[in-house]
């Protein structure tokens, strides 16, 4: 694994109003790599993704995206550089139908999946295409949140808890999708509570604690570090 660096986050601090949440996050992701941010509830993983997207309050430090500094960019400019974000709360719009939700994010790169491909991958969404977005079940909303960023051609995917609350078959399918995306040279940051889902997919894992990176574990070290991880994650 010697790919070029695609995302470098250094000394990232982020605030919500007065609360200082991230205290100097450091990590890098190489092109075509899948990394996972693990950690206990409230550790700051969601905030890390939101800070990369420009969705928190004040941020300091550096976020290099494909060689460009984006820390001071407005979030639509960051997205336009080819970043797709699947938020933890899903963010399905109630004023849009399922299909309108799916078609909402504009193209930010080439090679995104077509609507037909996506419907083949998620047949539920095809069935519910005309339903109001928030009338979909929790699991369907989750598929929708994932599907809608696969259309855009974004090459860096920030995925927050995409396996949460889904049936095992669907989780398995998501795993396959992530693998396919990796083969297609997508760069992926997986924020996961579900260690068993993330472990086989991630090339490297970072443990986040109190708004900092507490440990980095490569795929081949996984077996040795399992007890440590279990303690850190409280599983």
């Amino acid at each position: 694994m010697s790919g070029t660096e695609y995302l470098r986050v250094s000394d990232l601090h982020a605030f919500y109003g007065e609360s200082h949440i991230l205290h100097g996050i450091d990590f890098t992701v190489r092109k075509g790599e899948c990394i996972s941010l693990l950690g206990r509830n409230g550790a700051g993983r969601t905030t890390t993704l939101r800070a990369i997207m420009g969705l928190t309050g004040k941020r300091t430090g550096s976020i290099m995206l494909n060689g460009r500094e984006v820390i001071n960019m407005a979030s639509h400019r960051i997205a336009q550089l080819g970043v797709g974000y699947c938020p933890e709360e899903r963010g399905i719009y109630s004023s849009l139908s399922c299909e309108e939700n799916l078609l909402l994010p504009p193209q930010v790169g080439s090679g995104g999946m077509s609507l037909d491909e996506l419907y083949e991958m998620f047949p539920n969404l095809k069935e519910r295409r005309n339903s109001q977005g928030t009338r979909l079940s929790g699991g369907e909303q989750q598929m929708l949140a994932m599907a809608r960023i696969l259309r855009t051609g974004a090459k860096l995917l920030l995925l927050d808890e995409i396996s949460e609350g889904l049936a095992p078959v669907i989780v398995q399918k998501l795993g396959e999708i992530i693998r396919t995306l990796k083969e297609r040279d997508y760069t992926i940051v997986l924020v996961e509570q579900n260690f068993r889902f993330a472990a086989p997919l991630a090339d490297r894992m970072f443990v986040v604690e109190h708004g900092q990176i507490a440990a980095e574990i490569a795929q081949h070290e996984l077996q040795d570090k399992l007890p440590y991880l279990q303690e850190m994650l409280g599983v």
């Binding site: 639509h76 974000y85 963010g91 004023s95 078609l103 909402l104 994010p105 504009p106 855009t152």
Partner: protein, 295 residues
């Protein structure tokens, strides 16, 4: 049969048409307010003043530049829209994160300044503006004479409302608008330039007010106070219809215009207050308005 409960039919129809004309203005103005409120979270009290400016620009274009009605129909709303964009960039954009009250106070102050300015220039008396030749005269419908200009106001307003509704509810641009109204931060994180859309939405919303002003110019006296007289009723319409529903504000506007017209026929004493009485009743039973969603 030539009368209905003692009211001659032509008079009744005449009042209904007038009611629809007023309703058309209510619809176009409250539509603009609803679109602006949805996107900017601002109750635009300057709406009446911008409507007045639409009418006054129409008159000024004619008076000073010899530009006629049809060109004004495009140029006046455009000018008002551009002024709106300047207002949004210079003033409103700093208020989005604050309580509605700040936007309301700011736009209220703005309305006073704009009205004061034009009052200073032209005094309070209204200026006449003549109906364009193509639209003067009346059509004989058999049971009544329909003045062409009134028919035009109703037709043009309905067309503008329906097109706006269609764009917002049925097109891709409309999906962006609805998304940005519902969750601006996430919508921006998908790569949509939400601040730009907010700016253009305000420009469009007040442009609608400007358009209503052009339509009103030949139908009333064009003067600095024409907006403040109308806008109070329009706000009552918005309260009745409920903020944030596009179709709701259109239907409520037309409906209330009709009710007002009928009241003028059957109980003229109440015609100036009937809208406010309805508002009080609606507020008692549906505080969010007829079409509004409770938060």
């Amino acid at each position: 049969m030539t009368d209905f409960f003692g009211v001659p039919l032509p008079a009744l129809f005449g009042q209904l048409v007038l009611g629809l004309v007023n309703g058309s203005f209510y619809a176009v103005l409250s539509l603009g307010l609803a679109v602006i409120f949805g996107m900017l979270n601002i109750i635009n009290f300057a709406h009446g003043a911008l409507y007045m400016m639409g009418a006054l620009f129409t008159w000024m274009f004619m008076e000073y530049l010899g530009i006629g009605y049809w060109w004004s129909l495009v140029l006046a709303p455009l000018s008002v829209g551009i002024i709106g964009i300047a207002i949004e960039r210079l003033l409103l954009q700093w208020l989005y994160k604050l309580d509605h009250l700040y936007g309301l106070l700011l736009t209220f102050g703005l309305a006073l300044i704009l009205e004061g300015f034009f009052r200073h220039l032209y005094g309070v008396a209204g200026q006449p503006y003549s109906i364009p030749d193509e639209l003067s005269g009346a059509i004989n419908l058999g049971f009544m004479f329909l003045p062409k200009y009134r028919a035009w106001i109703i037709f043009a307003s309905l067309a503008v409302c329906l097109v706006t509704w269609y764009v917002i509810e049925k097109t891709r641009l409309g999906a962006y608008l609805r998304a940005a109204t519902e969750n601006p931060a996430l919508t921006q994180a998908f790569g949509i330039n939400v601040p730009l859309m907010v700016m253009l939405t305000y420009g469009f919303g007040v442009g609608l007010a400007g358009l209503a002003g052009v339509l009103a110019a030949p139908a009333t006296q064009v003067g600095p106070l024409m907006g403040s007289n109308l806008i109070i009723t329009v706000f009552a319409v918005v309260v009745i219809g409920g903020m944030g529903s596009i179709l709701g504000s259109i239907l409520t506007g037309l409906g209330l215009g009709l009710i007002e017209g009928l009241t003028k026929v059957f109980y003229p004493e109440a015609s100036a207050t009937v809208v406010f009485i309805i508002m009080a009743i609606v507020l008692m039973f549906r505080p969010a308005g007829l079409f509004g969603r409770e938060k």
